[in-house]
């Protein structure tokens, strides 16, 4: 088939930020999937809650402090996260490095807190359906948190190597974006796990 050139795209940039970049949409896709996974897990929790006369079953509600501490750290982490976002848009390599290290440390701290939270659930996964669903939900969110922390660490390392190319700043902003989702996902789960059994 003959072709007629009607437009030249040579001047377009080779990467973009946010909805202009492919990886951002990939992140959106995975957030939709995981969000749906959480929604189903929440639905399962509520279903079991509804069919059981006593809730929590044979246990006292989880101790409040680990989940609450996490919620606080999550909310505060939005500040350094947002700063990392800004410096990445400005392509300020030195500050991006600091931002990523801070975010990685926050992630690791949250994983440690998460360990305490498991220890303070006051139920085992095999005690009852209540224990099972609580462990499942916390397990799902922990996997989610751990992969994001892993991602942040790898990205931080990349930014200290020759791979710190301009378009990698766009990856940093996607990482920031995804972290907001990790935070956002935690809040309803926190309410569900720590407060619903106290109703």
């Amino acid at each position: 088939m003959r072709q007629t050139i009607v437009r030249n795209v040579a001047e377009l940039p080779t990467y973009g930020y946010g909805p202009r970049s492919g990886p951002w949409w990939g992140a959106m896709g995975f957030m939709a999937l995981e969000g749906m996974g959480f929604a189903i897990a929440i639905g399962t929790y509520l279903y079991l809650y509804a069919v059981n006369p006593n809730w929590p079953i044979g246990a006292s509600p989880p101790d409040l402090w680990p989940g609450t501490a996490e919620a606080a750290v999550y909310l505060l982490s939005i500040i350094p996260n947002e700063i990392t976002n800004r410096v990445a848009h400005r392509q300020d390599l030195a500050k991006v490095r600091v931002g990523l290290i801070v975010m990685a440390l926050i992630g690791i701290a949250l994983l440690v807190l998460r360990g305490f939270e498991f220890a303070h659930l006051n139920t085992r996964w095999d005690n009852s359906a209540y224990g099972s669903i609580v462990w499942l939900i916390l397990g799902l969110h922990t996997t989610h948190l751990a992969t994001d922390v892993g991602d942040t660490v790898v990205l931080a390392v990349l930014m200290f190597t020759r791979h710190a190319k301009p378009r990698r700043f766009s990856d940093v902003t996607d990482n920031v974006f995804y972290w907001n989702f990790v935070v956002l996902a935690w809040l309803p789960l926190y309410a569900l796990l720590d407060w619903v059994p106290r109703l």
Partner: protein, 637 residues
């Protein structure tokens, strides 16, 4: 090639036709040899493999179907034991649903969608390669287990408590649950890729109302996958946890609930039917427009009904649970919405019939299969409206009436369009035409065989034959209809053998296809058959809904992309305005290694919970290898 001018890299606008093709081919080609095959991230290579593998599973599932029909051909046969029969119908259902029907549709999308939207590769090609390996390993895992006599035997829906440890103490149900996870990971990955490809990689000017209907269908399907499959993953993970580490999700003695399984399963299982059917309608629209020689009438209506079907399909899962004793009001509501879903499907059928009516149809094999589809699907739809009402469902639930109904819907709705699609797109994929003569034989054998096999099952159901029984006694008067059904099944199977013969023969001896043998209107026909590794030498610009019909002999294109590295053009969501030129990944071995690590993790965890510990580091290492940007041209500078 030293024609580089004022810019620092070679661009396609300084190369002429032949130079450009050779140069792009060199950059986009999959490396040769075994290593290249294992590293390929080209959507056409992966798509072809995916299609072939899915058809291999169709063959396996089909063999099991024939074994069942031999056993049921007469009363009190001893060809299969009750135990083997249970395994076989479970393997048949699981293979057909999880290893054939969904994957084959996604596989066609992997091959076709990038071509149809006018881009060079799918979004996230490495994820795509990973997805294929996961599908392959998950499918092999299921079948190897079956051959070693640890295959599942609890039905394709694995109802608890039957599938609980108490009633299935062997590994059979674990194999089933883990196979689900494999195939769902694969399906979810492809769904995300398709969505992003359609959203961001469309050719400039392909606005939302110029997207081909097949691509629309795959977009809607991908969303259904994304919202339905997490449910079955949560369900099967909970099941396997109950079995392996003693959680209590489905155990009523500790607050669990068996009905929870059915809710989670059917929240996925009902949309699943539409995940299989909607791509079929997309294939129908594509084939119909080409052979009716006019665009499908009611383009916006078709899209709205696709979206409507998608939404409604989520409201319907409870109709699989009428006999579990739901509150009256709920049952009424779900009956109504089950009947409502017939409306969008009906609208689409009217649009297709009008198109045929108004066009100048050429009755080639692909169109025959489309017409077969319409006939069979309408019958399946009618029996569907019947089982959607609570009183009738209560009567025929778990009888052969249901078996007849869902094969009419699944085979009519998906397999007939699919075979039509094979005839339609084979010339593009293979560069040669399939034999039309064998094609006609293929169609008539399939159409007659299918109806002879499945129509009698309606009557068998009405006179009381239950499903999932391995034999029956002579005094039941079921023998004649069963024999007829078995003969039909064999004829139907022969039609597939004929398809295979046709494919093998035509690959060598078929007439050369040329770029656009059917004179179709969509972009996949604007490039050579089979398409070169880069798909298009220059990215097309779309100005009409049917670009190849509207633009006649000269296709508008863009220039200015890199000719020395893999680059794709990203466009805006609604208007498809060019935005960026983004790098597309090079071939890589890491997706395969990641899939192997994941497989070890999944299978290991069936046998020991510790696999979760020692299985994680290899996965982490391979994932880092995957994302580490070495090997990409930009990073090597």
């Amino acid at each position: 090639m030293s024609t580089v001018v004022d810019r620092d890299e070679l661009r396609d606008d300084v190369l002429n036709g032949l130079q450009l093709s050779t140069q792009l081919e060199r950059i986009w080609r999959t490396p040769s040899g075994l290593a290249g095959a294992l590293m390929s991230v080209e959507h056409k290579v992966v798509g072809r493999r995916y299609i072939l593998t899915a058809f291999a599973f169709l063959l396996l599932g089909g063999i099991l179907a024939i074994l069942m029909r031999i056993q049921l051909a007469g009363p009190e046969k001893t060809f299969l034991s009750a135990d083997k029969y249970n395994q076989i119908f479970t393997m048949h259902g699981s293979t057909m649903m999880f290893l054939f029907a969904v994957p084959v549709m996604e596989a066609f999308a992997v091959y076709l969608v990038p071509l149809m939207v006018g881009t060079r590769n799918i979004a996230f090609p490495r994820l795509n390669a990973f997805s294929y390996w996961m599908f392959l390993f998950g499918g092999c895992f299921l079948w190897i287990s079956f051959l070693f006599n640890v295959g599942p035997d609890v039905g394709w829906f694995s109802y608890v408590p039957l599938s609980s440890l108490q009633f299935t103490p062997t590994k059979r149900a674990d194999v089933w649950a883990q196979m689900i996870t494999f195939t769902e990971v694969a399906a979810l990955a492809v769904a995300v890729e398709i969505v992003v490809t359609v959203f961001k990689l469309r050719a400039p000017g392909m606005t939302l109302d110029r997207i081909p209907l097949f691509v629309w269908a795959m977009l809607v399907t991908s969303f259904l996958v994304m919202f339905a499959m997490p449910s079955i993953m949560v369900a099967s993970t909970s099941l396997i946890l109950d079995r392996l580490v003693n959680t209590r999700f489905y155990d009523p003695s500790s607050g669990g609930h068996p009905l929870l399984w059915q809710h989670l399963f059917w929240f996925f299982g009902h949309p699943e039917v539409y995940i299989i059917f909607i791509p079929g309608t997309g294939m129908v629209s594509a084939i119909l427009a080409t052979f009716a020689r006019r665009p499908v009438i009611g383009y916006p209506v078709v899209i709205l009904s696709l979206i409507g079907t998608g939404f409604l399909s989520f409201g319907l899962w409870v109709h699989h649970m009428f006999v579990t004793g739901l509150p009256q009001l709920g049952a009424g509501l779900f009956t109504a919405s089950s009947m409502l879903i017939a409306v969008p499907s009906g609208l689409q059928i009217f649009c297709w019939l009008a198109t045929l009516w108004d066009g100048r149809p050429v009755y080639r094999t692909p169109l025959l299969f489309v017409i077969g589809f319409i006939v069979i699907f309408v019958i399946g739809g009618l029996s569907g409206v019947m089982v959607a009402s609570v009183p009738i469902d209560t009567q025929v639930h778990d009888t052969y009436f249901v078996v007849a109904h869902f094969h009419y819907v699944l085979i009519g709705g998906a397999v007939f369009p699919l075979i039509g699609a094979v005839y339609y797109w084979f010339p593009k994929i293979a560069g040669r035409m399939l034999s039309e003569r064998l094609g006609r034989w293929n169609f008539w054998l399939a159409f007659i065989g299918f109806n002879v096999a499945f129509f009698p099952m309606h009557f068998l159901g009405l006179i009381g034959m239950p499903r999932r029984v391995y034999t029956y006694t002579a005094d039941m008067d079921w023998a004649h209809l069963n024999l007829l059904s078995s003969i039909g099944a064999i004829v139907f199977a022969l039609s597939f053998a004929l398809l295979l013969v046709n494919v093998v023969y035509s690959l060598r001896k078929g007439a050369l296809a040329g770029d656009n043998p059917w004179n179709a209107s969509t972009l996949e026909w604007a490039t050579s058959s089979p398409p070169p590794p880069q798909n298009f030498d220059r990215i097309p610009v779309v100005k009409h809904r049917d670009p190849l019909w509207a633009d006649g002999e000269s296709l508008p294109v863009v220039a200015g992309l890199s000719a020395e590295r893999r680059e794709v053009l990203l466009t805006s969501l609604a208007e498809a305005e060019p935005q960026t030129r983004e790098a597309s990944p090079e071939p890589s071995i890491w997706p395969l290694l990641t899939a192997i690590a994941t497989t070890v993790f999944f299978i290991g965890s069936i046998f020991t919970p510790w696999a979760v510990l020692w299985g994680t580091p290899p996965m982490a290492v391979t994932l880092i290898g995957w994302f580490w940007p070495s090997g990409s041209k930009e990073d090597e500078e």
